[in-house]
Symmetry: C2
DNA sequence: GTCTATACAGTGATAGAC
DNA sequence: GTCTATCACTGTATAGAC
């Protein structure tokens, strides 16, 4: 077994995927060890706080990704272009519904209480950024917020349903319907 | 400590709530013991198959509840009345978004693979029953199925978002928007 | 930085007294 | 039917050699 020296930043995406697939409780240290290829020693070296610190790091990275690729463009790009880009980014990121939203999954069980601030903030910023783009597109603030809320709800629900029925087409159809509604 | 004799049927709702709050992995035997007030001996007496049998029993009960209170009415009652009744039942059952959908939560992690058939069947029957009512209401089959799919997605997403932001109003608003869309 | 060894609390599960 | 005692195993976490 070769000793491959890793960096903390390289390990986080692997841990993130473990949490997405298995949930917070389901992702045990041994499962994370399997997926990262790192022993417990290395893992605790990078994350002295253990599992909770791993989840925090993962959430921070997810947050940062959405900020850069979705929230900031929604605020700064021309609204039509930004919203089109959001649908593409969402479809790519969630692998057509096969990949779960980590924050949404955490929201469903007691894990939410551990990371309540980050969880709420993530969704709040998403809705606000999308509503901002919709306002600049011509909607009044109330209508923009309603549409933004509905879109974020639709994405989360589409992930649940497409996974439940194991059918990517559900995710694709949901995204198309929502894109049409926001465009119209 | 008084020995209160229980029946299997009385225990299932308590176990269901444990799974909803904690997830499949998070609901350990000791946590289930706490919530049911039953020792492991009694629990394994009722469910010799352990946790997996408990989850199966819980899923079967959920299935049966939705069949009786939502799916059958959608097929047999006048469509307008049935759909109105569905929104009320959904709002009551999910406690305005505070209570998680057990099947939806299971769908998000590896628990889905354990109960893939039941999970898929639950959502499939919901969509089909709602589409049936919408057809009888005048929509063509394709449009009815799209609306039904969108409604089920919206309910699941609304649960995620209202829990994430800890805000029941989100669930209420989502239900109102969807009810209006199906009525219009 | 990575590993192995280890501690010990908690896990699902079983057996048997009452 | 309910409990307690106990099982083997896995959980998170730590210490120390390399």
């Amino acid at each position: 077994m070769a000793r491959t020296v890793s960096e903390r930043a390289d390990v986080i995406p692997l841990i993130a995927e473990a949490f997405r697939d298995l949930g917070y409780d389901g992702a045990s240290m041994s499962r994370i060890t399997e997926r990262t290829g790192l022993g417990k020693g290395s893992l605790y070296h990078f994350f002295p706080g253990g599992k909770e610190e791993m989840a925090s790091a993962v959430l921070a990275e997810v947050d940062e990704w959405f900020d850069r690729h979705i929230f900031v463009p929604l605020r700064e790009l021309p609204p039509r272009e930004a919203i089109d880009g959001m649908w593409i980014a969402v479809n790519t990121y969630f692998l057509s519904g096969r990949r779960v939203c980590l924050v949404g999954a955490f929201a469903l069980d007691e894990t939410r209480d551990r990371f309540a601030g980050v969880v709420a903030d993530y969704f709040w910023r998403w809705i606000e950024a999308l509503a901002d783009a919709l306002c600049r597109k011509g909607y009044d603030s109330e209508r923009a917020h309603a549409l933004a809320e509905e879109a974020v709800i639709g994405i989360q629900g589409a992930i649940v349903l497409s996974r439940a029925l194991d059918d990517e087409a559900i995710f694709a159809r949901a995204l198309q319907r929502m894109a049409a509604r926001l465009a119209g």
